[in-house]
């Protein structure tokens, strides 16, 4: 297992697991809100098509949680 941080909280991930899957396994279902309605968003299609699960990884914005493999020490946020 490896560990990364989501909003300061330590999240465990399997080697090769996506950030989205690891967050989901840790019980975190939403990490973004819609621009107009403020409604919660997280994994939707989970196969890279919908761009609903965007988050910021090590300062790089708009990364798809479902397509980004978690690495030890990653700093992840909305």
């Amino acid at each position: 297992m490896i560990e990364f941080r989501f909003e300061g909280r330590a999240i465990a991930a399997e080697e090769g697991q996506s950030i989205g899957a690891a967050l989901h396994a840790a019980g975190i279902r939403s990490w973004r809100t819609t621009r107009f309605g403020g409604r919660p968003r997280g994994l939707f299609c989970a196969i890279g098509a919908c761009f609903d699960c965007l988050l910021t990884v090590n300062g790089a914005p708009d990364q798809r949680a479902c397509q980004t493999v978690a690495r030890a020490g990653d700093e992840v946020g909305p």
């Binding site: 621009r35 761009f51 965007l54 708009d62 798809r64």
Partner: protein, 379 residues
């Protein structure tokens, strides 16, 4: 009404307002064809003086009314900015804009209006001022022309809202053929049986030419759009495009033509076009075209270099031999009216088309002269 794209929906809206009972038939549902594959442009900037500009100017006014009466379709009077890479191109754009500005809509000319009244508004933007209009525009451009009347809607929402507001009945089934009695169309045969009507309007877009009893020379012109990830603050404010777009729109070439056309949407995405190809009804993705479009977009807006492309799709623009839409009564069969062949300008031209068709169906006189659009001109 055959077709539930923007033209069919606009016609249904205008006809029901005029007291006509309308049934809309579409095999794919609302905006399932060309309307659902475009950017939602309402442009005067790319139209040379002539009948299409006339229709575009009238439509521009009508869209503003529709936003007030109906709304809910992301109406955005953002304006257009046509940019020139070289001083020579800027000269050509300036001359083109001058001919547009001098064009007086016929309805106003009848009333003795001076040149420029109620016509195209366009102003030169010197190179030094381009960044005021578009802060992320690339350096080294020679200047541009600003067209404040250019606007945008979300085209699928617009078709859906207008259709709902019309109160017309929507039947989702294919129209197989027109029902003809003598030399008069009396209805349509559909997958769900026969529908009879006093008048049939053919608003079937790219597929409008293929009804065997009343064929029209309308063919598809393919185009791709790239859609970026949504931005919190989209980096493009206007519809921004290069001078090559105007020439490509009017061109007769068979092969691939591309020109940079970039704009944001209210959802935060950036739409990147535009390509034109005559390859029949094939909508397969061609990655070399997508790469070309992306490269042109990054050339105009370097900030897009790191943007992720979320989707890409192709649509088919319905074009006629003279690139004018086909609007009016059929020249062979009574009771049949056409409203099709708008190429890449269907969203922009839909309300004035609907106004024209409504006048023709109900025996009124449309404000824009319908003669240049008559279906019989190809006979």
């Amino acid at each position: 009404m055959v077709g539930a794209g923007i033209v069919g929906a606009s016609c249904a809206y205008a006809l029901t307002r005029a007291g006509v009972r309308v049934t809309v038939v579409d095999r794919g549902g609302v905006a399932s064809g060309t309307t659902g594959a475009g950017e939602g442009n309402i442009l005067v900037s790319d139209k040379e003086p002539g009948p299409e500009l006339e229709l575009a100017l009238r439509s521009n006014d009508l869209w503003r009314n529709l936003d007030e009466e109906c709304g809910g379709f992301e109406w955005d009077p953002k304006g257009g900015l046509v940019v020139a890479e070289t001083p020579e191109v800027l000269d050509a754009l300036t001359t083109f804009a001058e001919t547009q500005r001098r064009h007086v809509p016929a309805a106003d000319a009848d009333a003795g209006a001076p040149p420029g009244a109620a016509g195209v508004v366009a102003s030169l933007v010197p190179a030094a001022d381009l960044r005021e209009f578009e802060p992320h525009l690339a350096e080294g451009l020679a200047g541009g022309i600003h067209y404040p009347q250019d606007a945008q809607v979300q085209p699928m929402l617009a078709a859906a809202r207008l259709l709902r507001a019309s109160g017309a009945r929507l039947v989702r089934t294919a129209v197989e053929r027109f029902l003809v009695s003598g030399d008069h169309v009396t209805g349509v045969r559909t997958g769900q049986g026969d529908l009879y009507a006093d008048a049939v309007v053919n608003a079937a877009g790219t597929w409008a030419g293929s009804f065997p009893q009343a064929p029209l020379p309308i063919r598809p012109r393919k185009g791709f759009i790239l859609v970026t990830q949504p931005f919190a603050v989209p980096p493009v404010r206007h519809k921004v495009y290069t001078a090559a777009y105007v020439t490509n729109v009017a061109s007769d070439a068979e092969g691939l033509e591309t020109s940079g056309v970039i704009e944001s949407t209210q959802a935060g995405t950036v739409l990147i076009g535009a390509s034109r190809q005559r390859v029949g009804y094939d909508t397969a993705i061609d990655y070399t075209v997508l790469a070309k479009l992306a490269k042109q977009a990054v050339g105009l807006f370097p900030v897009l270099r790191t943007a992720q492309v979320m989707r890409a799709y192709a649509g088919l623009r319905p074009y006629s031999p003279d690139h004018l839409p086909v609007i009016g009564p059929d020249h062979r069969l009574g009771g049949l009216f056409h409203a099709c062949g708008h190429e890449g300008a269907g969203i922009g031209l839909a309300p004035a088309t609907a106004e024209m068709v409504t006048a023709q169906v109900t025996g009124g006189r449309p404000p824009v002269d319908p003669a240049p659009f008559a279906p019989g001109r190809f006979a």
